[in-house]
């Protein structure tokens, strides 16, 4: 590995930047205000595009995520029906008027699904970010500081790594108000240890590098060394971690909502599943009520998983399938 602080990050960085169009850097973002603005933005977009196109899994994953992000963003513009409005058409099967039928309250399932996308996607990504923030803080601070601080933080990490997160989340969430914010906070507080452990290990290997020593010698403040010098070098790991975390968090939030801890005045995929199950959609045979939300969760999760496996392939060439014949041929040549 190169010792230079300017080590180019793995292509995964580009991929993650373009992962979510709404949050991708736009021309005019403060981040890109320095230098010739248009050219820089174009360069970033181009390198992001190259990273996406270079790997089929990354491309497919990004496509799926972009689709759901678009639905989340534009859904309310397409759907003009109130997804919570009760009508007299109860338990209707899918038809031209109701693409995914209606539920027991006569509410239109398709509009619930589209409107619910916003809540599910938004909270999954927000909670994912929260988890990663905690992981970064604990992992980097512990890994860099060493000594008693590291001992304490590693102990905390290892202890929470062992405690199963969903049961702990249920213990915690039942005493508080039923709202998505409660769920998000509880899920964030129960899912951070894995990322923290990975980042701590990486920081440990990073702290004795020359650029860190140089920064320390030039009198930089500790927090600046951690977050401005070391952190940028770990962005690819953070990105991969964010993707896996988001899958976990998406499932955890939906699971808690399925158990009935969601805010029933709003709509999301998990809340739809809860309502379908608790009002006996199974017995009335309304498969169109409970099948679509879970399918959306699985699809979005699969998109994220694809992106993650793609990043793995980019980072570890041995996992790439295409290269195999060439490698094998070379090995055979060497052997001969």
């Amino acid at each position: 590995m190169s010792q230079s602080p300017l080590t180019p990050l793995s292509p995964a960085l580009g991929a993650t930047e373009a992962r979510l169009p709404p949050t991708a850097p736009q021309p005019g973002d403060t981040l890109y205000r320095r230098g010739s603005l248009g050219a820089k933005a174009l360069a970033v977009l181009r390198s992001a595009w190259r990273a996406i196109a270079s790997n089929r899994k990354v491309a497919a994953g990004t496509g799926v995520i972009a689709f759901f992000a678009l639905v989340a963003l534009l859904g309310p513009l397409i759907i003009h029906q109130d997804p919570l409005k009760y009508t007299l058409t109860l338990n209707a099967s899918p038809s031209a008027a109701h693409w995914l039928g209606t539920n027991q309250g006569g509410q239109d399932v398709f509009s619930q699904l589209v409107i619910g996308t916003r809540s599910s996607v938004f909270w999954a990504f927000l909670t994912g970010m929260l988890v990663v923030l905690i992981s970064i803080t604990v992992g980097l601070v512990g890994g860099y500081m060493g000594g008693a601080v590291d001992d304490a933080l590693s102990l905390l990490t290892n202890v929470f790594l062992v405690i199963p997160s969903l049961p702990l989340a249920i213990v915690a969430v039942q005493y508080f108000n039923r709202s998505t914010i409660t769920i998000a906070i509880v899920v964030a507080l129960t899912n951070w240890p894995w990322g923290a452990r990975v980042l701590r290990a990486q920081t440990l290997s990073m702290r004795s590098r020359e650029f860190v020593t140089a920064a320390r010698a030039s009198g930089e403040k500790t927090w600046r060394i951690i977050f401005a010098e070391i952190f940028p070098n770990e962005i690819s790991i953070v990105a991969a971690n964010f993707v896996t975390t988001t899958i976990q968090v998406l499932l955890a939030v939906a699971g808690l909502e399925f158990l009935g801890f969601g805010d029933t005045n709003t709509i999301s995929w998990g809340i739809m599943l809860n309502q379908a199950y608790s009002s006996g959609a199974l017995l009335t045979g309304s498969w169109w009520w409970f099948a679509p939300p879970g399918l959306c969760i699985a699809l979005l999760g699969a998109g994220l998983a694809l992106l993650n496996f793609g990043i793995d392939e980019v980072a570890d060439p041995r996992l790439r399938v295409r290269r195999r014949p060439a490698l094998l041929a070379r090995k055979k040549l060497e052997a001969a």
Binding site: V171, I247, L282, G294, A305, D312, L319, V321, A335
Partner: protein
Amino acid sequence: MRRLIRRISIYLLAIWAAVTINFFLPRLAPGDPAKALFFRLSQHGYVNPALLQALESEFGLDTTDPLWLQYLKYLNNLLHGNLGISTSAYPATVAQVINQDIRWTLVLLSISVLISFVAGTLIGVFMAWKRGTALDTSLSAIMTFLYSILYPWLALLVVYFIGFKAGWLPFSDGYDLSLTPGWSLDFILSAAQHAILPAFTIVISTVAGWMLTMRNSMITTLSEDYVTMARAKGLTTRRVMFAYAARNAVLPSVTGFAIAIGSVVGGQLLVEIVFSYPGIGFALYQGILSQDYALADGILLLVIVATVVMNLIVDLLYTVLDPRTRQERSA
């Protein structure tokens, strides 16, 4: 040995942390859960002074004891297996409810986790061996989808399409309710039949994780020199595949097993709910619905402790599998 002692102390700390969180949360929560719950229950006609007292001691409101004394009493109660009184199954204690339901959960969990781990790992080995073929590509795609499936959703689909619509297998309860539980052949057959669909659901939703981990780890191992050497020596394919590559590639899966077991248990709780399976997951759901905090907490604490113990077992197993961990070396 030192490594093991360190791990065990971490496990003990984890249990203590879970217990402590469980003690302090209701006391930190806004409002007065005991009073609110008692009010709700009294509207349903459950009023009983013993119940109120049970509730108050559960939430630590009954005494003028300082917090630390309440905490010690709480720990003492837990050590004696006293988890409080269930308000939904009153007058049964939480321990009685759990004792009755836990065996269903344990049997279902161990069978389905075993099947899924063995099957997933084996499929992963073969996929890595045949990587790049149509089999690998198509299985990878399917597994990527299954990897992020929501357990209770799959359970709903299975209940509806296989159980309810097709009517191939029973899809609710743990056994035919007309039979009396016991060691009769009829009962055991009925229980086995009722376990097929829940087990199938758990296997399908967990198999992808083991498989993908094994596949990637196996592919990495296959490019190691000692595997090439084994091939060059002309060893049989089976020997190279299992004794050389898979034995070393399985280590990440075993580590993953320890981490995943918590989420598998959590997932099983949700699956039981959909199948009305008489395990602790279904009891937990009843507890949550009727705001039986003592029952829910007792079950969750038990699950947390069980997960920690399983982690310890996996750790011991790891020491057997990987000779390097037996040396004094901190990674």
